[in-house]
């Protein structure tokens, strides 16, 4: 394992269904989580729909993978950001989004919800700080 920890950002800009991008991005995040890097996941534009509660995919014959986002905490992904402007443009607020908990099993430290809604300036800062950005 390399000792150099890099800042990886996974950028999600697309709606959850209709293309395979959202599901593939989530799988890449879960697989990449094994490499112990500093990982953040950012939701922008239509990507914010991926985190909405109460998805029902029966009519389109696709697997509803929205419950899978709640495992991100188990996979030690602790930083999940949502662009406030993208939410507002779609008439959504943080209350419309799933909550993702994180818990340290050793120390029993617990964070109830690691999903953080941030403004565009902060989105830009975080992108600048990242060593690598994977855009989906």
């Amino acid at each position: 394992m390399s000792e150099v920890v890099k800042k990886f950002m996974y950028l999600n800009r697309k709606a959850p269904y209709g293309t395979i991008y959202a599901w593939e991005a989530l799988e890449v995040v879960l697989i990449g989580a094994a490499f112990d890097q500093d990982v953040s996941v950012m939701f922008l534009d239509d990507g914010v729909y991926q985190l909405t509660k109460g998805q029902d995919t029966k009519a389109i014959g696709m697997k509803n993978f929205s419950p899978t986002f709640r495992t991100l905490g188990d996979y030690e992904v602790k930083k999940i950001f949502v662009d406030r402007a993208s939410l507002e443009a779609r008439g959504l607020t943080q209350d419309d989004l799933v909550e993702i908990a994180w818990e340290d099993f050793e120390t029993e430290e617990e964070i109830e919800n690691i999903v953080e809604v941030i403004d565009s300036a902060r989105v830009g800062e975080l992108m600048n700080e990242s060593d690598a950005i994977f855009s989906f």
Binding site: E27, L30, I31, A33, A34, K63, N64, F65, P67, T68, R70, T71, D74, Y75, F105
Partner: protein, 112 residues
């Protein structure tokens, strides 16, 4: 995709790696037959893990990577069971891969 496994006189489709083709087809007998093929007789300890995996999948729609499974088992079934040594003693071909196969789940996400 033409492979099948016979359980109680019924044929169930499996993929080229032996994972059950259709999650909803699963019956406990499938785990017993798959285990027998791997020379394992299932005990209550095995069933705890198999049932745990099915519940995890039901809730989150994925089969957990082994690292995540270990942590989650420790939390649910006690720290003495939440370690890879214990899990490998039950499932020598890898707790995530082998136990998920017995449980009728797809190959775990994050199994590189």
């Amino acid at each position: 995709m033409s492979d099948t496994i016979e359980v109680d006189g019924k044929q169930y489709g499996v993929d080229e790696e032996g994972y059950l083709a259709n999650l909803n087809d699963w019956v406990p007998g499938i785990a017993t037959v798959m285990a027998a093929q791997d020379n394992i007789e299932l005990t209550d300890e095995h069933w705890d893990i198999i049932n745990f995996l099915r519940e995890y999948y039901e809730e989150y729609q994925i089969a957990p990577a082994v690292r995540v499974l270990t942590k989650a088992v420790g939390k649910k079934l006690g720290k003495d069971k939440g370690n890879s040594k214990y899990l490998y003693s039950l499932f020598p071909y890898g707790p995530a891969k082998q136990a998920c196969r017995f449980a009728g789940l797809p190959k775990p996400t994050g199994c590189v």
